[in-house]
């Protein structure tokens, strides 16, 4: 049997299909404005890679910011739970998860696979992927490269502001002073790490610590966070898919809770057509 997890984040959408033993495939694409249309397309792509059809997927769980916009999902589960489950499956020793997404960041506490506590930064771009995106745009550097570049810094500058707009102004000021891009980026990563660290500390940071989400792909940010935390942190091989992985794991569990008949009924009810934000009625995709 196959199980699918679909994580529609604010910036990136991820699909993961697994069977009982292993992860079979993943697809990662930018989210864009029309979650529902993309959800349909990205799922199709994942199925094509495995030469499967929709009927082969026993259960689908959607998670993330856009989870309610997936008409073919059998269940929606919050991303906090899905990240926790995904990381717990990959690294059972992890007790604290730091998830750095495009529009928010979270701290999650785990105890024996159970969600014990969590904290979120959801009203401010500081400490999120968006913060780094704004600065990379301003500096004319690719977002994917800013982490590596920051590691070349010899004198990290001090970015004092936690507000994205003010940090942008500080960055411009540093540029006008002739500060190197490496030093500015190191300062930016430190400011971001400081913000995230002080938030996650609210739920008490315990070893082991894992970082997930797009922010975990930024080595400069991971190093800055490690410095703050005071010990090495674990970064999954593909930190973007831990939410989708958790969703697929939940899908597998849900399958076992219901009878074959119920499962078939659920599958028949799936609305597989693409839909848009602008019309609640399904249209042929």
């Amino acid at each position: 049997m196959f199980y699918a997890g679909l994580d529609i984040g604010s910036t990136i959408t991820k699909v993961l299909i697994k069977n009982e033993r292993k992860v079979c495939t993943t697809v990662i694409k930018p989210t864009g404005a029309e979650h529902r249309r993309l959800a349909n397309e990205i799922m199709d792509e994942a199925l094509r890679k495995l030469n499967l059809t929709t009927a082969n997927i026993s259960y689908i769980v959607a998670t993330g910011y856009g989870r309610i916009n997936v008409p073919f999902a059998d269940k929606q589960v919050t991303e906090i739970t899905c990240h926790m489950r995904g990381i717990n499956w990959l690294f059972p020793s992890v007790k604290t998860i730091i998830d750095i997404g495009g529009q928010d960041s979270k701290g999650i506490k785990v105890d024996n696979g159970k969600l014990v506590n969590f904290v979120m930064n959801d009203k401010c771009a500081a400490g999120t992927g968006r913060f780094l995106e704004v600065i990379s745009d301003l500096l004319g550097v690719k977002l994917d490269d800013i982490g590596e570049i920051s590691l070349q810094s010899t004198r990290p500058t001090n970015i004092s502001s936690i507000c994205t707009v003010f940090a942008e102004q500080e960055t411009l000021l540093q540029l006008s002073k002739g500060t190197s891009i490496e030093d500015i980026l190191a300062g930016i990563h430190r400011a971001s790490a400081s913000r995230i660290h002080s938030m996650v500390k609210k739920i008490k940071i315990e070893k082991d610590v894992a970082i997930t989400g797009g922010g975990a792909k930024n080595i400069g940010l991971c190093k800055a966070l490690e410095e703050r935390v005071g010990f090495p942190v674990i970064v999954p091989p593909e930190p973007l898919i831990t939410g989708a992985l958790g969703a697929a794991l939940i899908a597998s569990e849900e399958t076992k809770k219901i009878s074959k008949e119920e499962l078939i009924e659920k599958q028949l009810k799936r609305r597989w057509e693409a839909v848009t934000f602008f019309d609640e009625k399904p249209t042929k995709g």
Binding site: T78, I80, T81, L115, V119, F278
Partner: protein
């Protein structure tokens, strides 16, 4: 292509008929004050002083309106934004108390309109004040709020009533209670002199005695309702309480409030006797800390519907006082002393619990530890108000201490009482969804630790 983005009006989440009727009291206060203005009787703008200042003002013949209550009224009826925008343009920062900003915006409009409430003002508006009755109790920012309002009403003086708020251990120092009460009574005498001088009339102490007696009766009945709420399933929820609290908090001396509470009691008792829950399929019993987002009360209805979450008890400070032992009144005849006792006992009533759990300040933290047991709660929904310093100071500490000492988890939903711009309802809902799993986990933890519920 359909482009219409129609906002669906959500239900208020009230489950009691009496809760639906309670707004009558908020409207009554506003109406009475407007009537008093027409008749040339004095009007005071009052803070909640936990009955310390209000009862005396009413005994001397003043009509009172409450900018705090008006703030909630405006937010719930969609009328607050206009006032907030004016407050912003007057130069007051958006980080100030939402109630203060709402009243400042309204005050500006009132003074610009020759002290006639503007057309369409929520509830008809607040009538022009003759004086301000302020209080430093609970919140330091309140000292400055009414002083700022004077900018628009230059002839109205501000009187601030005071209350000693001892720390947990200090409360038990020998003679502390007597000194505290004497301090309050001395201040109340000065306050009476201020009112008599301002209004040119003498306080009728017999009338004050009547008012105080009626207040104790109403508060005792309101407390009986609180006791009924310990039942499982919960016979009423937070959305009910936030309506029915109006009469006991603002109008406890009004015989109509007492009659109203008889009806509330009967309605809640009927549910308890028949094991009827306020919400169907109650699964999680939550305490709510601090004031709710008045603009988004439908949120709680959705929590009930989707997750079976019932707010079974709310912030201690808005509830009626616990009964004061009869013997404490022996030899007390001065109504000012009774008023002092009422407020002082209210603010120190959970100090024994505070001592047991070693928490400080007891008045903002301790009640939740007692509530957790009495109301068999599964979690704390903490709503730190972005604009409310006292609430925010203790809330996270309370949450963490409850987790450590009673294995009651908490979730933090940031927001504001008035300003809906800082309340992210979608994210709040998402957090609550995740919190279900946390509460399930802690249920198991309590079982392991031998904690009774």
């Amino acid at each position: 292509m359909k482009t219409e983005n129609k906002k669906i009006k959500k239900k208020s989440g009230k489950t009691l008929q009496t809760a639906r009727e309670a707004s009558y009291f908020a409207k009554k206060m506003l109406k009475n004050a407007l009537q008093a203005q027409e008749e040339g009787r004095p009007i005071g703008w009052s803070m909640v002083t936990w009955w310390q200042g209000e009862l005396i003002a009413r005994a001397i013949g003043a009509e009172l309106v409450f900018p705090e209550n008006y703030g909630a009224f405006c937010a719930a009826t969609g009328g607050a934004e206009k006032h907030l925008e004016i407050s912003d343009s007057e130069g007051y920062p958006a980080t100030l108390c939402g109630y203060a900003r709402n009243s400042i915006g309204y005050a500006k409009l009132l003074s610009d309109n020759n002290f006639v409430p503007y057309e369409g003002a929520p509830g008809g508006g607040l009538a022009k004040p003759k004086f301000f009755l302020a209080s430093g109790t609970a919140c330091d920012a309140r000292y400055k709020w009414f002083q700022a309002l004077k900018r628009y009403f230059t002839e109205a003086p501000v009187w601030t009533v005071d209350l000693p708020m001892p720390g947990t251990k200090e409360f038990f120092y020998k003679g502390n209670k007597e000194l505290g009460l004497k301090y309050i009574v001395d201040h109340l005498k000065d306050y009476v002199a201020f009112l008599e001088n301002l209004l040119g009339t003498k306080l009728d102490y017999d009338r004050l005695n009547e008012i105080v007696d009626q207040t104790f009766k109403t508060l005792a009945l309101a407390h009986e309702v609180d006791i009924l709420r310990r039942a499982v399933p919960s016979p009423m929820v937070g959305s009910d309480f936030w309506s029915i609290m109006i009469p006991h908090l603002y109008l406890p001396e009004d015989p109509e409030a007492y009659e109203f509470y008889k009806k509330v009691y009967a309605e809640v008792k009927q549910r308890v006797d028949n094991k009827i829950g306020a919400i169907p399929n109650e699964k999680y019993r939550l305490m709510f800390a601090e004031l709710p987002p008045w603009h988004s009360l439908g949120f709680f209805g959705e929590l009930a519907e989707k997750f079976g979450m019932a707010i079974v008890i709310e912030s201690w400070n808005y509830h009626a006082i616990l009964p004061i032992p009869e013997e404490e009144f022996e030899g007390v005849t001065d109504p000012l002393e009774k008023v002092a006792m009422l407020t002082y006992y209210k603010w120190t009533e959970y100090n024994k619990v505070a001592l047991e759990y070693n928490v400080d300040p007891g008045f903002f933290m301790a009640a939740y530890f007692q509530f957790a047991k009495d109301y068999k709660t599964d979690g704390l929904l903490a709503h730190p108000l972005m604009s409310c310093r006292p609430a925010t100071y203790t809330l996270l500490h309370t949450k963490n201490t409850l987790e450590n000492k009673l294995k009651i988890p908490g979730v933090v939903i940031d927001g504001d009482i008035i300003d809906l711009r800082v309340f992210n309802e979608k994210e709040a809902f998402s957090k609550m969804e995740a919190f279900v799993e946390t509460m399930d986990h802690y249920r198991e933890e309590r079982k392991k630790a031998g904690i009774a519920w």
